[in-house]
Subunit: 342 residues, 2 copies
DNA sequence: AATTAGCACTCGAGCAATAAGAGTGCTAAA
DNA sequence: TTTAGCACTCTTATTGCTCGAGTGCTAATT
């Protein structure tokens, strides 16, 4: 990224900030009025013209002011933005809002996400904690009727999944005991990702009698184990985006996109690093071409465990949103770690 | 409701149906072309004029056709609409879509709701099964660390709730045993609604030593018991509404409304009867004044247990949506009943 | 060489005038 | 009671117009 002159930096930063604030294209005179720069509007115009040709600014039409291009936002985020700590007021809001959910990881992440949506006025996503090293800690089978039972599976990092299952034969104590023996031998302490439908069938094959009663139970185990891996993605605050005039008609396709889990999951997992800002068409999905995504991971016990992120217009308030996301993921990670500690 | 002449009935029905189909105000000539009625456009105009004065039709402006008023929709739904069985194709879609979720009540309701949203192209709500007679069946406390444990509460009709809790002292076998004794004595078999924070404190008072360890555990019990009562309302398909041109700018406030649980919960519970259609300003909430709500309850073992509903524009396709909702709630009720049966 | 003042130019937003078209209500005849 | 005919109303789309914001260029100034 070529360096720009000091004055160009200042002008670009001002254009970005003014445009983020007002939503109106920024003209030379308006910029001058807002910044009190020590030069004339003509000079600003000349500089803007060059920034234009370098691709940092765009003019929507000849007689309008400038708005930042994606390259402009990128340069701003990487080089110009004040890297500052979170705003004290926002910090207090977060601390207060999150306090009631301490203790339960999933609740904590949910409050954090809702809070972030309120603060940023954007849509926010979160995933509940998962770990690569996610071991099956306990499996319970609670009979509900003669043929049905509620199965509960708990993993080492506190994920709990449950479902009903139904068998054809009778669920008596004998069956239950056999089931618990299998569970103890084959599942407890194993990584939940290893419990696939195929591996479960191998286990079922070792059962001689009661094969047809055991099979649905074991299938349920693999279902639950599998679903502890899926990252339980939740999105909230989508309706915040409706209040913005940045999106025109494209808002419909954006919201439709955000309501589907698979692509969103893909978006979230396509970033490396701790905190990632993805601007406009840097996002792989067409539906996000007018949006920016700020994603950050939180770590439990030092391992990356889940994600919290903001999705909003490219014209989002990076300067405040980025520190908020950073602070929040940090806090969530620490709180979950301490909630789970021995 | 005053009876109308046969011809007025026919004209009103045609206006409603054409308007539902096209979204355009219906004029006398267009109506004639679409229905092949055996009279002239002038006659239709006269009739329409009277329907207008009776309040069944509205003209958006002088030189447009007519659209149904709320009273018109109401009369249509109550008296004119073909009461027919569900469309065979829709029925197949439902049967196929729902089959994979049989066995687990909560999954079942969720698939049903998603399915309904796809079919109706509207927003859909559902509540997971609850019963008035919801007894606590089992409480499990699984230690996770020295100070933390996962608590699981299961009710008689298959609702499972869980949360983490953290205590200040050490969670040893002794404490666990004491806890299970309390649970057995005071909670198992009791209606979950009776377990309030206040009642739990009475229980805690009976503990002499370990009071401060037991209190947070008991508080967690009341929290879980309380949350089995809240009906776990979920809304889906909101983004379907964006594709409709019925809502203008009001779409933003509608979607914001739909994203909040409390008022939606209120809406759902404000209806009596089995199946209820609420048109436009018949809804108590201002945000729903341009919408209709079709709500139906499903019954498990003969008791009303949960709700599935459709929220869409007043110009929704009542004739198909109502039978779909009826069929779906019926099916869901039957499937859950059989999944839970002894 | 950089900056600035001045000015002509461009383009979109907003507004009024106009034309076209759809649909009505009324009147008088069948 | 129904219908044909017609004048009338109102919306929508189009056009032409002005206004103003903002630019880019040129020439003068520092």
């Amino acid at each position: 990224m070529a360096e720009l002159s000091e004055r160009k930096n200042q002008i670009l930063a001002s254009v970005v900030e003014l445009y983020i604030k007002t939503g109106e294209p920024v003209g030379s005179k308006g910029l001058l009025a807002a910044t009190g720069m020590n030069c004339s509007s003509a000079t600003v115009r000349n500089e803007m013209n060059e920034l234009d040709q370098l691709g940092y600014l765009i003019q929507p039409h000849t007689s309008a002011g400038r708005i930042p291009s994606e390259k402009g936002y990128r340069y701003y985020v990487d080089n110009l933005m004040m890297v500052r700590d979170i705003d004290e007021y926002t910090k207090r809001m977060i601390d207060a809002g999150i306090s009631s959910s301490i203790g339960d990881p999933e609740k904590l992440v949910n409050s954090a996400r809702e809070l972030l949506a309120d603060i940023t006025k954007c849509a926010c996503v979160s995933t509940a904690p998962v770990g690569e090293t996610n071991l099956v800690r306990k499996i319970e089978l609670v009979p509900v009727g003669r043929h049905t039972a509620m199965m509960v599976l708990l993993t080492s990092n506190g994920i709990l999944k449950s479902r009903m299952c139904r068998v054809d034969g009778e669920l008596n104590a004998d069956i239950l005991e056999k089931f618990y023996n299998l569970v103890k031998t084959f599942f407890i302490g194993k990584p939940s990702v290893d419990i696939s439908l195929a591996s479960v069938q191998t286990v079922a094959a070792s059962v001689e009698e009661d094969y047809f009663i055991m099979l649905p139970l074991l299938a349920a185990v693999s279902d639950l184990a599998g679903s502890t891996g899926d990252s339980r993605l939740v999105i909230g605050g989508s309706s915040n985006l409706l209040a913005l005039k940045d999106y025109g008609d494209s808002i419909a396709s954006l919201l439709e996109f955000l309501s589907r889990k698979e692509p969103l999951n893909d978006v979230i997992h396509s970033y490396k690093g701790q905190l990632n800002v993805s601007i406009g068409s840097e996002n792989r999905y067409k539906q996000l071409e007018d949006s920016s995504v700020v994603i950050s991971k939180y770590s439990v016990n030092g391992d990356d465990s889940g994600t919290i992120g903001v999705i909003g217009p490219t014209r989002m308030d990076y300067e405040n949103i980025i520190p908020s996301v950073r602070y929040l993921t940090d806090l969530v990670g620490r709180l979950i770690t301490s909630a789970l500690e021995e």
